[in-house]
Symmetry: C2
Subunit: 328 residues, 2 copies
């Protein structure tokens, strides 16, 4: 009933069923188990007097970013930003032509550059995300991201957000939820675009971060970004980030990889009405199909946990009418 398009009859109005007069809040979702589960959960926690009612103050929903709200293939957008920054900053770092991983990046051999795994990534992030104020960094990201394109699809990265997830965010907010991003991505990197892209303001962005240093330079206060890592908001770090920034357990959590497993455990292994889901990348035609064996966004343990705990899998191929805004 509640999914029907407006087709109001005098009788329906007389029965005073407001749901009937609403347009579909999730138009890019195919009718099916996932959509029905979302709507049943929201109806439950918003029905005053019902068993599952949750006060507005406790309606906290957390979302991973990469692979959950926007595409993370062939690699994280933030990594492409870092690579472009290495190229832009290379003239000021002559030693980079002979020092890995910078040398391989400058030669265009990205695979070789990041063969060193996390250590190489941390080095590149450290070198490109520090040595400037938070304000300067914000403008640099903003300049870059408004023109950056996905290297495989050629589409602007900001157009590769998931339309169904934008609708889910808006639907939850319309029902009194506060929506937070809780991502392994850099907090300062994300804040340059998350308000515009997702309608989520800066205080509701939780992410990884480097150390900051306050100083007054030429009479002007500034926060300098330092190269040392301060906090990694991934895996078991996600519940920690949630406690630090939000200070209450969410009642809904959405991720797509094993890095989100602990966030979903923290949210959903408890009493009371809860909703946990993984975006399952099953659509090799409109997006990318990957899970257990992927080097980016691996979903393996998470799939087992979803099965054990009855979490929802958003099957991208089956559940989503549209993947990216303005596409079919």
């Amino acid at each position: 009933m509640r999914l029907m398009r407006p087709l109001i009859t005098a009788a329906a109005v007389a029965f005073a069923l407001p749901a009937l007069s609403q347009t579909d809040p999730l138009p890019s979702w195919n009718d099916g188990d996932s959509k029905a589960a979302i709507i049943a959960f929201v109806d439950g926690v918003t029905t005053e007097g019902g068993d599952d009612f949750v006060a507005v103050a406790d309606r906290v929903a957390v979302f991973d970013n990469d692979g959950t709200l926007w595409a993370e293939k062939p690699a994280y957008v933030q990594l492409y930003f870092a690579i472009d920054r290495v190229k832009a900053l290379a003239p000021q770092h002559p030693d980079w032509t002979t020092t890995e991983p910078f040398a391989s990046i400058l030669k265009g051999d990205i695979d070789k550059a990041f063969a060193g795994g996390h250590k190489a990534i941390a080095e590149v992030i450290g070198a490109t995300h520090s040595g400037m104020t938070t304000e300067e960094f914000n403008s640099t990201v903003l300049d870059w991201i408004t023109t950056a394109k996905n290297p495989e699809t050629g589409r602007p990265v900001l157009d590769m957000v998931y339309q169904p997830m934008l609708e889910l965010l808006a639907y939850l907010r319309a029902n009194g939820f506060q929506t937070f991003v809780v991502s392994g991505g850099g907090i300062d990197f994300m804040r340059a675009f998350t308000e515009q892209a997702y309608g989520i303001p800066n205080p509701q962005i939780v992410g990884s971060s480097g150390k900051l240093k306050f100083d007054i330079v030429d009479g002007k206060p500034e926060l300098l970004k330092e190269p040392d890592v301060d906090f990694i908001d991934d895996g078991p770090g996600k519940p920690v980030g949630i406690q630090m920034h939000i200070g209450k357990q969410p009642i809904a959590a959405f991720g797509n990889s094993d890095g989100d497993l602990q966030m979903l455990q923290y949210t959903c292994i408890t009493d009371g009405p809860r909703f946990c889901a993984f975006v399952h990348h099953t659509d090799g035609t409109r997006e990318w199909a990957y899970d257990k064996d992927s080097n980016v966004g691996q979903l393996d343990e998470g799939l087992s946990a979803a099965s054990t705990y009855g979490w929802t899998l958003f099957d991208m191929a089956k559940d989503w009418k549209v993947v990216f805004p303005g596409t079919q």
Copy 2:
């Protein structure tokens, strides 16, 4: 005009001046420079089309806690909590009877216990604020704080919040501000009472913190509080905490000690409409009179900065009709 009590005449209504029909939003403030400055600032940033208009999303106000929103004398409330926890936990720590600073606390010699300064305090906080889950800690604080009394006045500590500051918080929120606590106090400690005491929800509390560890114990997810310090939200740490948790520069900041100086610098040494103020403890009769020479809440450099930058001093004796709720 705007400070008048409701005394509406037909003529006033005919002129359609809505301010006249409002009751005084700051009834515990004496008419004077401080109250006038607050109201002029709020009028400025909320007047659409005016030079000083600030969009709702950017109306961020930050408040120190100890000495700014509630009393901090004779010592921080959190320290009394820690002392009571040492006494409660002593049977499980027989070594404390011979180890400082615990031995002196157990003998009731608080001065001697904390003669070691920050190191001794950190040791006591570490020992009493760790080894339990965030949930357990929250209940412990809540149990304690609802009965805790100030050792000098005998009043419940929760009754020693400042009535004029509660009105200021409410007035700012009524004008579209988000109000944040940014305090050197422990973030988990504060969150046990800040929503009830100040109407500020957990995500808007910024404070000092220890390390947290996520684990699943007996099938139940939990966050364990560890003894190591993670972040000190004081002095130059306050602008850092603001960037981490809020991600934008506030437009108003309220403190009372030199530990708030950098927060006020970060907020107010910049272009655009800004409001910075120190609560100046000038009232030895109704509260405590202290500034430059105090061991708790020293305000020395801050007084000079206030004079240099034209920040407001809330003169407790002169500006406040009432200090604590329900008193004169």
